[in-house]
């Protein structure tokens, strides 16, 4: 095994471990440099603000499904498993290292869970991030800038310090660097899925929400270097043999689904997942007023079912994305009870079929999933796309 390969595998294993045991790394970092950890639910919370306030931003994206039932006394079982599990983990004391929590209001469940959470397991700092749910009119921008100002003041009050524009700009720059590195890794993965798998790239993105970006950026830089070296030394036509697929949905949960894609000869070439490409798709301008720049990034993110955007409809966007990325098909990864995705699904599906793009919907639940069935369906889909003739033999 070459040195590059050893470095690569070590880094990919570390990303995987950060997700498997998310408290270890953040507690270690905190022991070295004490500062409050402020959690946030997906998606779209401006972590740059948390970072600039001196706290550690921490995404609630590493799930232990067994705790979902803990929420049952407070939240109906027909809430999505993402909400039930995050809240259940909090109730079970699995997130006690948090000093604060920011809940973005992106759907009815997030809107309602903030009050229930505050009632049953409050942290020192509890905030909502009330995003505009329409993003294509001028009022969205003026309101969002105001909302960012409000959130900033609230963080300043909790942290007992003010956030200077220069500090926020430095955080923005750090986060842009993170996004840029992860985008580079994503493209590397597209070209060399034999060297950097679907799971590797998604683990890299998700783990970046769990540890400081300063540390994570170094790891991703090292990983990119190692993969590039390995690619130079070892040619492969693996990418050409794989079926190119676009993933669409909220989160890639449970991770076993991505492992199934890896085993089925699929290379994920684009996605709009909150814990995937949507997280890294666009940067914040580094000139001008930082809050305005953060607002502009939010309004220009790829379409999501949570936000109305009649000027860039998700239907056309997704079809376009598939064509641009030269993908053979689309996999809908939907969490059961996710209303926003379900409302979009039938027309998205039909728009894809109308453009001759095969697609399949996989429904999952955190903590409760039949891997065998998902595996069979994905394999059949890949086979239909012509994957089996060229891959896996």
């Amino acid at each position: 095994m070459t040195e590059h390969r050893i470095i690569k595998e070590d880094l990919c294993t570390r990303f995987k471990r950060i997700i498997a045991e998310p408290d270890l790394e953040i507690k270690r970092v905190q022991a070295e440099n004490p500062a409050p950890v402020i959690g946030h639910l997906p998606t779209d919370v401006p972590e740059e603000l948390i970072h600039a306030s001196g706290a550690y931003p921490y995404g609630l994206v590493a799930y232990e499904g067994v705790w979902a039932n803990r929420a049952d006394a407070h939240l109906q079982t027909w809430a999505c498993s993402l909400a039930r599990c995050s809240f259940g983990m909090s109730l079970a004391g699995k997130l006690d290292y948090l000093s604060g929590l920011i809940i973005p209001h992106i759907c009815d469940t997030t809107r309602m869970i903030s009050g229930i959470w505050k009632q049953n397991r409050p942290y020192g700092f509890m905030e909502n991030y009330e995003l505009p749910r329409q993003v294509d009119r001028p009022s969205a921008r003026s309101y969002l800038i105001g909302e960012l100002e409000r959130l900033k003041s609230s963080l300043e009050l909790f942290m007992g310090r003010s956030i200077a524009d220069e500090e926020l700009n430095r955080s923005i720059s750090l986060y842009n660097q993170s996004r840029s590195l992860l985008r580079k890794l994503y493209r590397l993965h597209e070209h060399r899925p034999d060297l950097i798998t679907n799971l590797d790239v998604f683990n890299a993105i998700k783990s970046s929400m769990l540890i400081p970006k300063e540390l994570h950026n170094l790891m991703v830089s090292d990983l990119i270097r190692a993969v590039e070296q390995e690619a130079r030394e070892n040619n492969s036509d693996d990418a050409a043999c794989r079926v190119r697929v676009v993933l669409t949905g909220k989160v890639w949960e449970p991770p076993a689904v991505i492992e199934i894609l890896d085993k089925s000869g699929v290379v994920c070439v684009a996605d709009d997942l909150c814990t995937g490409y949507r997280y890294i798709a666009n940067d914040v301008a580094e000139s001008g007023d930082p809050l305005e720049a953060l607002a502009d990034r939010q309004l220009k993110r790829p379409p999501s079912p949570c936000f109305v955007n009649r000027k860039q409809d998700r239907l056309e966007y997704l079809v376009q994305k598939v064509k641009e990325s030269n993908a053979a098909g689309v996999i809908f990864l939907h969490l059961k009870f996710c209303e926003t995705e379900n409302y979009d699904y039938p027309l998205l599906r039909d728009a894809l079929f109308a453009a001759n793009i095969p697609n399949i919907r996989i429904e999952t639940e955190i903590g409760n999933v039949s891997q065998g069935q998902i595996s069979t369906r994905i394999e059949a889909f890949v086979e239909m796309l012509g994957g089996e003739e060229t891959y896996g033999s």
Partner: protein, 398 residues
């Protein structure tokens, strides 16, 4: 409905609603664009713009009350809109795909205008319909008010109302008429005032009118709010109730208890619940639902006032405010207990009820019950389970 004698105004209501539906069908032919609107949205702007407001939620409630909601929903479900979604939305979307139309055909929109203070379901349902019908869509977005309303939120709403006016001006190719808006707001104020005076009569002991009656008589305050028709209707209804009082005709003949109900009724079980409560001498006197239409607009500052009224209602409030609002109603109507409806179709009103039940009992000492079901889809309703839950509840009413 629980009263032994039917309301005389029931005939008037029937005529009024028939007229409404007829207008919906005729509007387009008469060159009046049809705007899909949501129940808690500033329909006053739509009436003032000379457009016809059509309520798909009302279509859902009608289908539910006639016990055909699940049938119409199936047409949506076979398309991939799963049964986890709001029952009204499944009906509204399903009817467009359905071969049979047991409550008439849903009217196709020329424009769609929704407000998400009630829920995100309406936002998504209307967005989906806008794609289906390829019609322009405007979302009036209302960030949740957790404590007191902020200037930020109010300004956001006002700016959006100006955008909405522009949206309607583009559709009508006519400048928006603010004088007409003042007239509409004045009529809405009068109808809301009358409606709330009627609702308040449920606080009398015994009362001539209760929540289940309100569910029956609420259609005009939703659909005709802002018109002379609504004002006329509630004047008549109020007169009839005063007449009933003088004749000692009460909603529950031997009323012994009053109960607070949260939130919407189980439409296909309206009679079932009404009978269940009446059997125990209990009148469901109040619900935050029927009190939603309690707007009072300031004609001198129309947009500010619309922004306040539509963003500050209970459906746009946080956890603690919602508890306090329920308790205020319980105190005002001097209820003996409360029933909380964990409605599968309505996450915003259902989520949090498990905790709220305990908190409200602790603060008021009143017995309460949370029951599971769906406002329109009987597949999610078990007569036996609900009856058993209420059996224990009624035993606690002493």
């Amino acid at each position: 409905m629980a009263a032994s004698q039917p309301f005389k105004t029931a005939g008037l209501l029937k005529d009024l609603m028939a007229k409404y539906y007829e207008q919906g069908n005729l509007a387009r032919e008469q060159g009046m664009p049809v705007v899909w609107v949501t129940a808690v949205s500033p329909v006053e702007l739509v009436y003032a713009a000379g457009l016809f407001p059509y309520y798909p939620e009302n279509f859902g409630a009608l289908a539910a009350a006639r016990k055909v909601a699940d049938k119409i929903s199936m047409a949506a479900e076979t398309q991939g809109f799963f049964s986890d979604l709001c029952g009204y939305a499944r009906c509204g979307l399903g009817d467009a795909y359905a071969q049979e139309h047991p409550v008439g055909k849903i009217v196709r929109p020329d424009l769609l205008f929704s407000c998400n203070t009630q829920c995100g379901s309406l936002q998504k349902w209307f967005e989906t319909a806008a794609r289906m019908y390829q019609a322009p869509y405007f979302l009036l977005d209302a960030p949740l008010i957790e404590n007191t309303s902020t200037t930020l939120i109010k300004n956001y709403l006002i700016e959006q109302l100006q955008e909405a006016i522009n949206f309607f001006e583009v559709a009508t190719k006519t400048p928006f008429n603010f004088d007409r808006l003042a007239e509409v707001l004045d009529l809405a104020n009068e109808a809301c005032r009358l409606w709330n005076e009627i609702l308040d009569m449920a606080a009398m002991k015994p009362a001539p009118f209760g929540f289940f009656d309100a569910c029956f008589h609420m259609a005009p305050i939703v659909t005709w709010r802002g018109t002379k028709e609504a004002v006329m209707y509630y004047r008549e209804l109020k007169k009839e109730l005063e007449d009933r009082l003088s004749k000692k005709i009460y909603a529950v003949p031997d009323e012994r208890f009053k109960v607070y109900w949260d939130h919407i009724p189980v439409w296909p079980k309206l009679r079932w619940f009404s009978d269940l409560f009446a059997e125990h001498g209990a009148l469901v006197a109040v619900s935050q639902y029927t009190h939603s239409w309690a707007y009072q607009f300031d004609l001198d500052r129309p947009l500010e006032s619309l922004a306040e009224n539509y963003s500050e209602g209970f459906s746009n409030r946080g956890f603690e405010d919602r508890i306090q609002l329920k308790i205020n109603f319980m105190k005002k109507y001097q209820v003996d207990g409360f029933a909380l409806f964990s409605n599968r179709s309505c996450k915003p009103t259902a989520f949090g009820l498990y905790d709220k039940r305990n908190i409200i009992s602790e603060r008021t000492g009143l017995p309460g019950v949370v029951f599971e079901g769906d406002m329109s889809d009987l597949r999610y309703f078990s007569d036996e389970q609900v009856r058993n839950k209420f059996k224990i509840f009624f035993e606690q009413l002493t």
